[in-house]
């Protein structure tokens, strides 16, 4: 256990430079770029005095180095600043919308794994048959489908034409969820309150958005699983297990798949980045009240502190997940030394 702790600490220490670099990059992008955010916000015709006042208020008239120090200083105190448009702290809308994005992303990941891994394992088993080729074609094509188009198609077919699923929002219009909002994760909240009807409604609203992400990203997992399985099934321990009289199904799925899945865990981190990106587009398509939509809203409103805040939160999120994935990998593979 102590070794695991050491490993954890080391990994965290390694992540810090990366976060630091990203934060600096964000700073650079959002400050040093051409274009004056303040005059843009004020409409371009405002008198110079007003512009200067605003700049001073936001600290934008100080030299860049000083601004950078300010920036870092605030971040250490976990202060993301105040919104330029509304009367709120930046963290307020972010914390409000974060659970929605996390829920969507998580279910999207589950969907992509749930579709991709079984298909990949099946294709490996039925190697070189028509089904194998079909699945491989699916995997390659699906990755080229724009996420938002997939969302629109699903909406069209299952929402508008078939009417089976809702096409926007996290809950239905007549559903009042505010009474038991606790964590912001509706799945948890509704279960906690014991209201199964609303729980069902929440799940129902999650289906199409999660599938959108899930289908498009399943391609990678299909390919990975299939390739890993083929590799693993050639292995000596598979032959040895068969020689001991272990039934074929168990050999393939218990001995084989488990080993094949390990490299997939390492891919999870990379896939998560794609998921987050896809989530922004999906939130836009399904009017999902998450961080992606918040970002787009505030970009339109030119609320730079919030834009910056959202991106910072995304960075932290990605780093955190990457760390988690590494830990998971160390935990499930007994060969990893820590």
């Amino acid at each position: 256990m102590r070794h695991l702790l050491n490993y954890l600490v080391t990994r965290i220490l390694l992540t810090i430079p990366m976060i630091f670099i990203m934060l600096t990059l964000i700073f650079v992008v959002l400050r040093v770029m051409p274009g004056d955010p303040v005059s843009a916000m004020l409409g371009g015709h405002a008198p110079q005095q007003v512009i200067d006042e605003q700049k001073a208020k936001l600290g934008l008239n100080k030299p860049i180095a000083a601004q950078y120090v300010d920036y870092l200083g605030h971040l250490i105190h976990l202060d993301l600043g105040d919104s330029m448009i509304f009367n709120e702290k930046v963290s307020s809308p972010i914390l409000d919308k974060l659970p929605a994005t996390i829920e969507l992303t998580l279910f999207g990941l589950l969907a992509s794994l749930g579709i991709g891994i079984p298909l990949g394992a099946y294709a490996a088993r039925r190697r070189r048959t028509g089904r194998d080729y079909g699945i491989r074609v699916y995997a390659n094509v699906v990755y080229c489908i724009p996420v938002f188009w997939m969302g629109l198609l699903l909406q069209l077919v299952f929402g508008v034409f078939l009417g089976w699923f809702p096409i926007s929002g996290r809950t239905g219009p007549r559903v009042d969820i505010s009474s038991f909002t606790w964590s912001g994760f509706y799945i948890i909240d509704t279960l906690r309150a014991g209201d199964m009807a609303v729980f069902g409604d929440v799940l129902w609203h999650l289906v199409l958005p999660a599938l959108t992400l899930g289908i498009v990203l399943s391609g990678i997992f299909v390919r990975l699983t299939r390739a890993n399985m083929l590799d693993v099934l050639k292995g000596d321990y598979i032959l040895a297990a068969r020689a001991r009289g272990i039934p074929e199904r168990r050999v393939v799925y218990n001995h084989g798949l488990r080993n094949a899945l390990i490299p997939i865990v390492t891919m999870l981190g990379l896939q998560f980045s794609l998921l987050l990106a896809g989530a922004i587009l999906t939130e836009s398509t399904f009017s999902w009240p998450g961080m992606g939509r918040l970002l787009l809203e505030r970009i339109y409103l030119r609320d730079y502190p919030v834009i910056q805040g959202v991106i910072i939160v995304y960075t932290l999120f990605v780093s955190f997940v990457s760390l988690l994935v590494d830990l998971l990998y160390a935990a499930i593979d007994p060969r990893v030394k820590y």
């Binding site: 040895a240 297990a241 020689a243 001991r244 009289g245 272990i246 039934p247 168990r250 001995h255």
Partner: protein
Amino acid sequence: MTDNQTILEVKNLSITYPITIGNVRAVQDVSFTLANGEALGLVGESGCGKSTLGLSLLDLLRPPGRVSGGQILYRGRDILGFDARELLKLRGQSISMIFQNPLTSLNPLFTVEHHFLETIHFHDPTLPKDRAREGVEKMLAELGIEAKRLKEYPHQLSGGMRQRIMIGLALIMNPDILIADEPTTSLDVIVEAGFTDLLLSLRSVYKLSIILITHNLGLVAEIADRIAVMYGGKIMEVATAEDIFAHPLHPYTQGLIDCVPNILLDQKELVTMPGSPPDLVNPPTGCRFAPRCPKVMPICRQKEPTLMEHAPAHTAACWLYQKGEA
């Protein structure tokens, strides 16, 4: 030790691998018997078909390889006719096999204990777990491995230990026959010696019949009662271990024995056999060894000799001894 009862009989077995350029005749018309309690050595160079033959005895050939003819009779019943259920029962319980590379033959994600318990569970599901554990611990004791190793993973063990665990897994259900495919090739000589001792002692404890597949003549000399020499997918000579080494009949056997460096002789050069193994897709007409044989005669290239007894309990397939139609 042997009681003259034939426990395994291979009759005219042929194995082919259909590939794009033709049919690879890996094993052709091979026949031999294994008596109860006997250790039979199957020797030959790489690619002669001995490993393929070993795999076929458990119907474990990797597709596209398949048995194209012949029978494998275990206690009088043809294994090739077994259905899936009977095959699962056969493997590990009646006939077991251990392989060359012990590290990769064990699943890296499972503990030693898990390997054993899983095997036991699938062969005897009704056995209570504590009884199973007792059996495993007893087996480990016989193998000379401490019980604490049960909770460890394969990569934490040494090569010799892993090979012993392989034997343990093969013998845990008390099979009649153990097939060992190049069991010591990846072990160093000291570990190999330990392995040999272990195998011999387990053989008497478990009343095992053994088929030892190897190209290591030293190993086979220590363990085998009888030896069969394979070349190009066919059996060239079969005799008791002493006879094979003392009076090898077939030129190939003679060549094999000569190739082993002898520390007592003042050898200036190592002996080799010129040429390379035959093309198994289009084998040469006549004897397969003819292209490389130092004692080749015209008839060797025209007709294949048959495996015939030329001395007591000593068969060979060679025109040197077979007076045939020239």
